[in-house]
């Protein structure tokens, strides 16, 4: 078997393999890039939260989606304003 002696079917198969693999890998790489981008945003959000978890910041919706299944609520503690975490209420199906 050689390049000159390859049949048409073999060429078509080669093109199909190339196209499939390159498309698949491109899609995977796009997905990975999206994931990295989303991770970067979440990482920055966590860093900001750690640096300044003040109750007033919650009003900016800065932490929406930071902790899925949980909500952050400003509360009053005996020692001053406080940021409490609660379980998010489950959605009721009607």
């Amino acid at each position: 078997m050689s390049w000159h002696g390859s049949s048409r079917g073999e060429w078509i198969a080669a093109v199909l393999v190339l196209a499939t693999s390159l498309t698949g890998s491109a899609l995977l790489r796009v997905w990975a890039a999206d994931l990295v981008s989303a991770t970067d945003r979440r990482d920055a959000q966590v860093e900001r939260f750690r640096a300044d978890p003040r109750p007033s910041v919650v009003k900016d919706d800065a932490w929406t989606g930071l902790f899925p299944g949980h909500v952050l609520v400003p509360e009053k503690a005996p020692w001053g304003p406080f940021l409490a975490v609660h379980a998010a209420p489950r959605r009721v199906e009607r």
């Binding site: 390859s6 698949g24 990975a32 994931l35």
Partner: protein
């Protein structure tokens, strides 16, 4: 070409000898590259999810501590969303364990008797009305000045029992002609390269404390906050650096029956021309008590003090003083006649007064948990090594 070379070339040629084989190799490389990128992205996402879980665990632990300390929760364990929590109080400390994402994180917080004075949350606080406009800070009423907890101070480590400090009968004469009436203490140069244990967080100096002039900063290594209470004057002749987790505060005391004066002529003692700040006539040691001198003998011209300063008497400047911690001025600021000097409260750090106690000062409000810290935090020991990393003199 040798037969070996032909065989080797033939072997390689066989791997790419058809379009299908070539396409397969290209596909393998492309897929491997994509899989590598996906694995990297998934790894980062997992690390961030763990980081977020830690932050959630910390927030949930704070919430559990609040509920338990305020009496809302009586059970030792509870659940907030995906976080399983256990809270306990043992030997004056709160312990919280948060389990999330299959990992257990342990936290602890001191059980505090109350909140610290508000002045420790600000870069600068002063009582003297004449400082308005000239000094950056907040004017306070005299009643807001921090007060020492004498019961705590009486149990504190004293400088005359601390190996790192020693009496020095001649140190004052190096700066002022007449010296001082009270005992003078200096950091012991012979011991500055060894660690000295200081029990609790307070060191009481029963006299004046001198930090001798030098071009090199005096470097402290502190793992916990330390308040040095000076029952006399504080003389600072060199910059002060602190490394480690602890913060350093110098606080001076004025004798109850002694006068407070501004040393206008800078001779280090009460003399005609000086201004009385408290009392109708001068009483007490001739050098006064509670005063702070920043800059001695004109060297260096700029001081950087990585400490807080609570000045019970008058602050005297013979150098530009950049103070990084909270500054509290009970009276005024007197500049040296020879050159204009500035007191610059940098406000680089302060105390979380609602959740931290500044050792040695009276607290207010009810009991409360302190700042929640990682249980593995090394700064939790009740004793610390006080280590001056550079020669004191």
């Amino acid at each position: 070409m040798s037969s070996r070379g032909v065989r080797s070339g033939g072997c390689w040629r066989a791997l790419v000898d058809s379009p299908l084989l070539m396409a397969t190799w290209v596909a393998i490389v492309a897929v491997f590259a994509a899989v590598f990128e996906v694995a990297h992205a998934l790894g980062r996402a997992h690390a961030t999810r763990m980081d977020a879980a830690d932050a959630l665990a910390h927030a949930a632990a704070e919430t559990a501590l609040l509920r338990r300390a305020s009496g809302d929760w009586t059970m030792p364990s509870a659940r907030i969303g995906e976080v399983q929590l256990a809270v306990g109080n043992r030997a004056g400390e709160w312990f919280v364990t948060a389990t999330v994402e299959g990992r257990s994180l342990a936290f602890r917080a001191a059980d505090l008797p109350g909140a610290s004075p508000v002045v420790f949350a600000r870069p600068c606080s002063y009582v003297d009305r004449t400082l308005v406009g000239s000094t950056v800070g907040c004017r306070i009423d005299g009643g807001e000045l921090p007060r020492f907890d004498e019961r705590v101070l009486s149990d504190a480590e004293r400088a005359d029992q601390c190996a790192m400090l020693r009496r020095d009968g001649g140190v004052a004469l190096l700066t002022f002609e007449t010296g001082t009436e009270r005992d003078d203490f200096v950091f012991d140069a012979a011991r500055t390269r060894s660690e000295v244990s200081v029990s609790r967080d307070i060191l009481v100096v029963p006299g004046h404390l001198w930090i001798q002039p030098s071009d090199r900063p005096l470097h402290f290594v502190l793992q916990k906050d330390l308040v040095v209470v000076v029952r006399g004057n504080l003389y600072v002749g060199r910059s002060i650096e602190v490394s480690g987790r602890g913060r350093l505060v110098f606080a001076t005391c004025v004798d109850p029956d002694a006068a407070v004066f501004a040393d206008i002529d800078g001779n280090g003692r009460w003399s005609p021309g000086d201004r009385l700040r408290r009392g109708a006539e001068f009483r007490g040691p001739m050098e006064g008590t509670g005063n702070v001198y920043l800059g001695l003998r004109g060297e260096p011209s700029v001081l950087r003090v990585d400490a807080g300063l609570v000045v019970a008497g008058e602050a005297h400047l013979a150098a530009d003083a950049h103070v990084e911690g909270p500054v509290v001025l009970s009276f005024g600021v007197t500049e040296a006649r020879s050159r204009p000097c500035r007191l610059v409260p940098e406000g680089r750090w302060s105390f979380q007064i609602e959740r931290e106690v500044v050792p040695g000062f009276v607290v207010h409000g009810g009991r409360r948990p302190g700042v929640l810290r990682d249980a593995a935090d090394p700064g939790s020991s009740r004793e610390q090594a006080l280590y001056v990393a550079t020669p004191a003199r």
